[in-house]
Amino acid sequence: MISVYYFGAISLILIGLYAILTKRNILKMLVGLSIMETGVNLLLISVGYVRGKSAPILSEGVSANQAVDPIPQALVLTAIVIGVATTALALSVAINLYERYKTLDVEKIRGLRG
């Protein structure tokens, strides 16, 4: 039986992917991208979860063997930052695209056509 965390995270990724593949508005695609990112981060976190253990911060009453896997958390921390950075960059590109083509429809933006 697949865990509800995995199911939820993968569903989010697929929803994001669906938005990227089928929506024609660039902003909607970027929303899809963000949703996908969230899904990926959730998936990473849920991979490191160990049932019944607590946060991996060494303090009173919490020893090293009672913590969940800390590596995915460090990974996700990095991934969130990267995600925000790419989203910011993509949004600025979207602004530039709108200024140049007066539309956000990817079908109509054909500057890349060879």
Partner: protein, 617 residues
């Protein structure tokens, strides 16, 4: 340093020096010296060719091995001789040091090909030769060089794949090792054992080698590069190009016999009185003769005429190789020598004409015999030799070849070679009359004879034509040495095949007597009347330009009209069409796949990821 290495390196070195120094006078001297070294060594090494010389070097991870034996000495002799005369003629025609570099580089390449003792060395020098000759054509015409390059690369890849298969199975490049392994393999299969090569693999190697060597030899239908490449380069160089470089393809076919003849014979069996695989080569050769000959007759440009004629003559050599008896092999080698001699001479003559008049088409020529008597004498020898008129070398080699084909009872091939000879007259008669005789256009009135270097070069080749024609026994003796037994008997002047004899000396004497009688008759009684160019009538009417079939203009138009149906099927055009289709296909694919839509690219990513996921990566 070993003699063989010096022989191969010397022209290249001279070429590089000539290119770097680029001083008028010095570069010519260097070039001629560089081409003279192989010729000198070939003469010196003649005695030692029988015992054989082997050299091996390791160069940048490659084992470079050279070997000299009777067969390779024969080809070295041809290449060095034609190479030397072509370089000598280039003293007059070469325009820049660039040409010296690449002409001499291709001489190095072809010598390396003939001396190579393993497949890898063979391939490396094959490519050096191709590259250098490509550069020579590139200087004059981009389109022609591109066509030559594409077909050559096609052939080179075919050869590389074949070499790869052989290496994968046998683990060796060396000729003798490959030959023995192939021989053992044929025996193993014959005795019911498991062979290293399956029938399919043998057929594949055979096919790949045919493509590789067929391209270089200009075999139909891979000949399309030759007319353009031969005509669109320095004509002195073409003499070497057509005379010696095309022999590399011929040598390749012979090499294929040596390496895997037994295997191929066993796998594919016999056809009539020859082997099936050999018959295919011979048939291709026959088609080459006919197609080359017919197209040569229809050309309006001297250079093109001789390019097609060169293709046609190479067909004879392929027929000889394909028939595959000792006699026909000797005939092929003999014709390889005479082809080099008369074709080398022809292209030097063309070079002289182009150099002196600057014109290449028949319609601008005429009456040059008076103005260029020496060149005309040379042309006369070359014409007699190519047409196969005794006592010149062309007759001796063609006669042996005809006898070889007839004695094997192969009627279709016999038909091809006889037709080829007839068509040879058809195009030569045109060259003879349109260029040398008849009325001379006034702008050719101050044409001078050949410059000295070209005259010497032509003289050397013409001497070869006459010498080996009157004494064909000289060549026959060398050829017998290759086979280690007396295939062509007779003395110095007589060729004896066992079922036919040809006495060259007797014929020479008769010919000289005939010429003397004709000369007496001419000088006693002939009256010469001068007529102007326009003084030509047809059924009493002046000729109109609509259907003007003088020897200089559309002379074989009726032939062209007869052949119109066949001429529509041009392989040249076919290759062009294929090229265009590939371009169109690529263009369509590009505009549909690379469509500039970000979302499509996202789809490609998603699909690839899905495929990878399904694959279980």
């Amino acid at each position: 340093m070993n003699e063989l290495v010096v022989m191969v390196i010397a022209p290249l070195l001279a070429g590089v020096l000539a290119w770097l120094l680029d001083v008028r006078g010095i570069k010519e001297a260097l070039g001629v010296l560089g081409a003279a070294v192989p010729l000198g060594y070939a003469a010196v090494l003649y005695e030692r060719a029988g015992e054989g010389i082997n050299v091996a070097y390791t160069l940048g991870g490659f084992q470079i091995t050279f070997a000299l034996n009777q067969l390779s000495w024969f080809f070295i002799g041809i290449a060095a001789l034609v190479g030397f005369t072509a370089v000598l003629a280039m003293v007059s025609t070469a325009k820049s040091s660039y040409e010296w570099l690449f002409a001499l580089m291709s001489l190095s390449g072809v010598l390396g090909v003939f001396l190579a003792n393993d497949l890898m060395t063979f391939f490396i020098f094959w490519e050096i030769m191709t590259f250098a000759s490509f550069m020579m054509v590139l200087k004059y015409n981009k389109g022609a060089s591109l066509k030559y390059f594409l077909l050559s690369v096609f052939g080179a890849y075919a050869m590389l794949i074949a070499i790869g298969i052989i290496y994968a199975k046998l683990g060796t490049f060396e000729f003798s090792a490959v030959q023995q392994a192939m021989y053992r393999d044929a025996y193993a299969v014959m005795l019911g054992g498991q062979g290293l090569f399956t029938k399919g693999e043998t057929a594949l190697i055979y096919l790949l080698f045919i493509i590789a060597f067929g391209v270089k030899a200009g075999a139909f239908p891979l000949h399309v590069w030759a007319p353009d490449a031969y005509s669109e380069t320095n004509q002195s160089y073409t003499s070497f190009f057509s005379g010696a470089l095309s022999k590399a393809g011929v040598y390749g076919f012979i090499l294929m016999y040596i390496l895997m003849g037994a295997k191929l014979t066993y796998e594919f069996g016999a056809f009539r009185s020859t082997t099936k695989f050999g018959y295919i080569i011979a048939f291709i050769g026959g088609l080459t003769i006919v197609v080359g000959g017919l197209l040569a007759a229809l050309q309006e440009d001297i250079r093109k005429l001789f390019a097609y004629s060169s293709i046609s003559q190479l067909g004879y050599i392929l027929v000889g190789i394909g028939v595959g008896t000792a006699l026909s092999m000797q005939a092929a080698l003999f014709h390889a020598l005479s082809h080099a001699l008369f074709k080398g001479l022809f292209f030097l003559i063309v070079a002289t004409i182009v150099y002196r008049t600057g014109k290449t088409e028949f319609k601008d020529m005429g009456g040059l015999a008076e103005k260029m008597p020496f060149t005309f004498a040379m042309a006369f020898i070359a014409i007699l030799s190519l047409a196969g008129i005794p006592p010149l070398v062309g007759f001796a080699s063609k006669w042996v070849l005809f006898e070889a084909v007839i004695s094997q009872n192969l009627p279709i091939l016999g038909g091809f070679v006889f037709f080829g000879s007839a068509i040879g007259f058809v195009y030569l008669i045109r060259f003879t009359y349109a260029v040398w005789f008849g009325q001379r256009p006034t702008d050719l009135d101050d044409t001078k004879d050949a410059p000295l270097p070209m005259a010497i070069a032509m003289g050397i080749l013409a001497l070869g034509n006459v010498l080996f024609g009157i004494a064909p026994g000289l060549v026959a003796r060398e050829l017998n040495k290759i086979f280690g037994r007396e295939v062509i008997g007779g003395t110095l002047y007589v060729l004896d095949l066992g079922f036919g004899k040809y006495n060259a000396l007797l014929l020479t004497i008769w010919l000289v007597i005939g010429i003397i009688i004709a000369g007496i008759v001419y000088f006693m009684g002939a009256k010469v009347r001068r007529i102007p160019v326009t003084d030509t009538y047809q059924a009493g009417n002046p000729i109109t330009m609509d259907y003007n079939l003088t020897i200089r203009r559309n002379f074989f138009l009726p032939l062209k009209e007869t052949l119109a149906f066949w001429l529509r099927m041009s392989f040249d055009r076919l290759y062009r069409d294929v090229g265009r289709y590939v371009e169109d296909l690529a263009e369509t694919l590009r505009s549909y796949i690379y469509n500039g839509n970000v979302q499509s690219y996202a789809w490609y990513l998603a699909i690839v990821l899905l495929i990878l996921a399904l694959w279980g990566v």
